[in-house]
Symmetry: C5
Subunit: 353 residues, 5 copies
């Protein structure tokens, strides 16, 4: 869990803006770019190891350049040169703890957001930063870790012609949409775990449940930090009239926006439910302490007076008339039974058992 | 209660936007459409099993096409073709966990919202998704489950001519209004249950009450997720100048909007009351623990010292002068009585009984 | 207290908008209208049993038609016909659980708000709905219950000429102002009760105090539901340029608006104070439990070890050398005194007494 | 503390707007007005007992009319006549529980706000209402209580020429500024008390601390009711283009506004700290209860079993073989020591001591 | 910790606006100004002891005048004369507890904000006030304490030409950026401490943890008071079209703004986590009290009845038949064992051990 609350930024503080420092923790392995070029009729799929191999853009085709597994500064620097990107954009791509945002530059839109993965073994949500650059006919996407998040979109491109009939802005939308769709899956998984927690709490409340509630509250905070800014991002894409986004794509963006708002609603509901579970737990602990106290009080209140009576007749005074009575013992036992019954009746009336 | 926090979306994540996946759980039964056509003088009521049987629209008549019990993709696909609907609209109709919203398309308004049913046996609120499509002279409504939610509106159409004198936009309003009216009934039922809970808590607080408070807090969260977006929806219908909604209908929409805000006020009040009940419960548990402790402390504080004194004179030392005193026993009993009285007086003064 | 959280709406749900259903609980008694007509020089005060007796409006006079004690549909229906009111207005007049609002119609303003009465015997706030209709020269007011809320305004009309020099809009303002003024009285009464509660809590906290805190929190929720919408109403009257309200009246409306905001400030302060009282109560219960525990622990910790020692010398072993020592008894008593003193010193140092 | 939560309004409710009712509690003593007239070169300082003595305004001089200690209606009535003030303004001046506000009238600005005094003996904040009226060249100020709040401003007027070089609007600013500056002093005093409270809570938490926390929370509520509306007031002075306020004064008003926002920040921080203290107190009470319980449990758990063993060998059965063993007594004592050590070790391992 | 909640303002209250009072606590030592002048080709670095030595501005060079360690009024007064600054600006520079803000004056922008230092030994955040004045070609910066906060920026100026190619507005941005970057470092340090706290709480909750949680909540309040106004400041720099800030600098300011929003997100997350820790602590204390109670209750419930039985047969009645039974002792021991087992089984079934 170390370092998850605030992600380390390396030695960045104080360095010049636009200084490229890679803040992820991937090893500097070989990098390969995936180049997909398509129009309604054609789809070419290539792999480049060096961006200088990048062919010139074919007329009337959309180009998608995808990098899975960002490692080190080199590929980003190359990308910056090739596409003439602003130094701050390059810096933000490498700083893997960036807040989701959209930034308009004269020739392109720069979009940063988070892919979230739920790890079922330790029930942790891990964030992966995705950077998108949308040119007129080109989309560049950078993923922080190997493992292609956009597999589904690629398959749809390969499978049917529908997606291929739209422009680069629609491709950017499709990538955003696939990430937001994944949030739903994640929320479902969290929701299932939280319902399970609720059942546990109702049937067998234990300290472990408490730790789990706390854990999920923290995960929800992580989720929140990813989703609220995404909503702003999408709202900005919808509201601000970016020339790169065509009017016919806007209705699709509005759909993702609606989904994002729905995700926020659901997430806030889950947070409320978790808060309620904590209250429930605290109250149930108080309740159980109360139960325990009742048992103790009944046992002690009944037997302590009886023991006192027995103690009296265990005294060794020479003159204790009762001791020589014939039915003394029986009488005292009777008295004890009467006291015990009286107290039991009293506690019963109080509703303690 | 399984799966209620976050509704399952099936295998949707990652699939293409506009892919039709039915996320409800109805079996794919025979579907029949209810077609109502009317003007001030005439009302025709038909049942279609296939949308291809749909007659062409009679001049000057309003057409209402209603489907109760959405099951499977087929009828929605047919609808899409017949009325030339946007693929995203069809997708949203089938995705039964959509956030209430209104969407303007060139020829029609697409409205999604929730009908809420209160099940008195397990005191759960269940949501049913309603989709409305408003054309110039046609209203299409889709309900998730069989059982006609709009029975009342249909009866009013059949009964009097008043409703029939208005256009399709007024019909859409009437449908919305009947759903919002139903929310009031639901709130009344919840309010009754919560007041009953309050009385229980005052007279006989038990663990069951706690579970019920938690339950209603969750139901209120469900309600909230349905009502707040509905308010946005209605506000958008009022504020944005949709050409399909005539000025004379606007005053009626404003009335539903006012009702919706009133529902939100009442709901938030209920939520506050529930929060107060939880505090009250927690405090009353603490109170009872305090009461239990007082009983224990008084019993123990009085009898433990007395038992100690009895214990002293139960010791077997050979030389214990008091034992042979003539009034030794009586003196000790007197001493015990004095101590007990003193402690009782002390506790009384402290206000413990 | 039954039915106060959510007011019943009768059988309204599902019925047509504009359907007149009376949701109050007054019996259908004889209704009489109070007609006041005045200008700077003249004031006529009449009582009508039937609206058809209504004389035509005298030129240059302001007309005020007041109904105390709304009962049944009939008078409202008559009113609707006579003044040509919109069906929704009539419906809202009869629905006595409406949210305060102002509604502009072509010829008149329709204003709904709440008169609040504080019942000192059970310390409950009861709401009474007031409807105002403001025409160019006429004000119509409807009160839910018999007992004239506007007595003060009537007296001022009868007494001096000042109020009579203004138009109908000023009369409407005066009616609103008299209601808002009454809210101050109500807040004062609540404030007094809450301060009294605070004192009780400081000096003699009991379970009854807890119930009272909860009660006042609920009353504040009721108050809140009446006052916040009233602020919106007044703000709308100020902000939206309604032709019926003359510019010179606006400064007076702004004064009521300021008062309303002040009431909200005070109410929210009272709510905060009540929340603080609950915290205080909870903490003081914990405190008292802690005190009780200390008494128990000291008594038990001192006497239980002593009793154990006495128990040892009460054993019947044949060979127990201490028993035959000459000063055995004295030694043991001394040991007991030493132990007791040591424990007392220990608890003293811990600050337990 | 009586009547501090909601200030009494006297018999105002229901009376006509503009009715002059004095709601303060000063006795109707002799009133004297302080008249200060100045320009860059000259300063005249007079005392008037009657406003009719007011000389006509000298050309090019700023006039400041100050009343310390508002008592009764008479002076306000006189003021109203002399300066032709709106009846509502007069009413608001006398109603000493008014919400801070600024009101633009054709010839003048009417400003109401609160001077706050911190009484160190009972640590209470008391509010005094200040009314300002700003004409083109005249400032009228009314203070609720005797004792001149504006002493400092007067001294600066008398001392240097700097303040005298500006107009009446700058004088109004200087008066506002001196009041806001005083808020800082007040916050410092509160802050000191709260830090002291914090130290007390850390070292010696007692019930008195709890009462003090509650007390300061209430005082903060009082402060809040004065400061938030003041911010609105200042923001309105800055934002709305009042002709009476010259552009060069605006930068000074912005400075007071910044101070006011800073005060709000600090106040909200103090409120948060107080809330944190309450949590801390509650938790520390729970902690102490836990400590007390541990002592009790250890004492009881160790000695109760031992006493039981002693009790067994105190039984008087004729046949109890252990009693006649030679080392029976020693064995039993050893067993007891073993049990006690075992339990002590167990509690140690649990970290109870 | 004294005086940290509300910083002292010296004797400022009531004094004239623009009165220079130094509110810091540095001793009035010798002051030296650092003068840096540069363009793309050249960089001159000088130290001035007196501002009158200030050379006239070289054409085409940016001038940066930096004062580390503000002490006393003199240097600020000199600065005011030299650069013709508004008296309020000078006052604000010296008042080291000012709220971060930007203020536009005809010739310059005045910016105040906080540098925050985290002291690892006592884990306190200390604020240092930084004032910036941005002229067309000149930046003046004032630091409250000796020790150059802007070392990094100076080094970058000396090292490369990149920063030197931009104007004075970019220098101001670079200074702001270096401070905001430092906030990230601070948040990382806080985050680490809070995670450590979380681990402590999970493994070994102690009272010290509670004090630390409270401490960090307070530090977060301090942080909050610095960061939220900074966000407003940056937003104002971005939004309001200040002529002194060139369009090409705006994109960099937007980057700092994004960082600032990210810092706020992270800070609020940390606050939420701290709040969660407090809840967790409180619940775990309740839990432990519950555990302690169970031990006590089991020990007492088992041994008190047994001791009572032993007490009965320790009574000295002459006629107690059981005492002379041959197996009386064994039977009683058996009975005791049965009771103990029964109770143990009962507690086991209740899940108490």
């Amino acid at each position: 869990m170390a370092g998850r609350l605030v992600r380390k930024k390396g030695k960045k503080a104080g360095s010049a803006p636009g200084t490229l420092v890679y803040t992820g923790n991937a090893s500097s392995q070989d990098v390969s770019w995936q180049l997909v070029q398509y129009n309604s009729n054609l789809l070419q799929d290539d792999t480049l190891t060096d961006l200088q191999q990048l062919p010139s853009q074919p007329v009337g085709m959309v180009r998608w350049l995808n990098l899975c597994g960002l490692a080190g500064i080199a590929p980003v620097e190359q990308l910056g040169k090739q596409f003439n990107l602003h130094p701050l954009v390059l810096e933000d791509m490498l700083n893997t703890d960036h807040r989701p945002k959209v930034e308009a530059h004269p020739d392109y839109l720069f979009i940063v957001f988070k892919m979230l993965h739920f790890h079922p073994d330790n029930r942790e949500i891990r964030a992966e930063q995705i950077s998108l650059i949308l040119f007129d006919n080109t989309v560049i996407s950078l993923q922080e870790r190997p493992g292609n998040v956009f597999e589904g979109v690629l398959q749809r491109l390969q499978a049917g012609r529908r997606l291929r009939g739209f422009g680069a802005d629609y491709l950017a939308y499709a990538l955003l949409d696939s990430v937001v769709d994944h949030y739903f899956v994640l929320l479902e998984q969290c929701g299932d775990h939280i319902e399970q927690l609720e059942n546990e709490l109702m049937t067998a409340p234990s300290t472990a449940v408490l730790a789990k509630i706390h854990h999920f509250k923290r995960e929800m905070l992580m989720l929140r930090k990813a989703v609220w800014p995404l909503r702003e991002l999408l709202s900005s894409l919808l509201r601000d009239e970016y020339a790169l986004i065509k009017p016919e794509t806007r209705i699709f963006l509005r759909d993702v926006y609606d989904h994002c708002v729905h995700i926020i609603d659901t997430m806030e509901t889950l947070r409320d439910v978790l808060g309620g579970l904590l209250d429930l737990y605290l109250t149930s602990v108080s309740n159980r302490t109360n139960e325990v106290m009742k048992v103790l009080t009944m046992m002690a209140s009944i037997f302590i007076p009886l023991t006192f009576i027995a103690g009296i007749y265990g005294m060794n005074f020479e003159i204790m008339p009762e001791l020589s009575w014939q039915y003394g013992y029986a009488l005292i036992l009777g008295l004890m039974a009467a006291i015990a019954s009286g107290l039991l009746w009293y506690f019963r009336r109080k509703g303690w058992w």
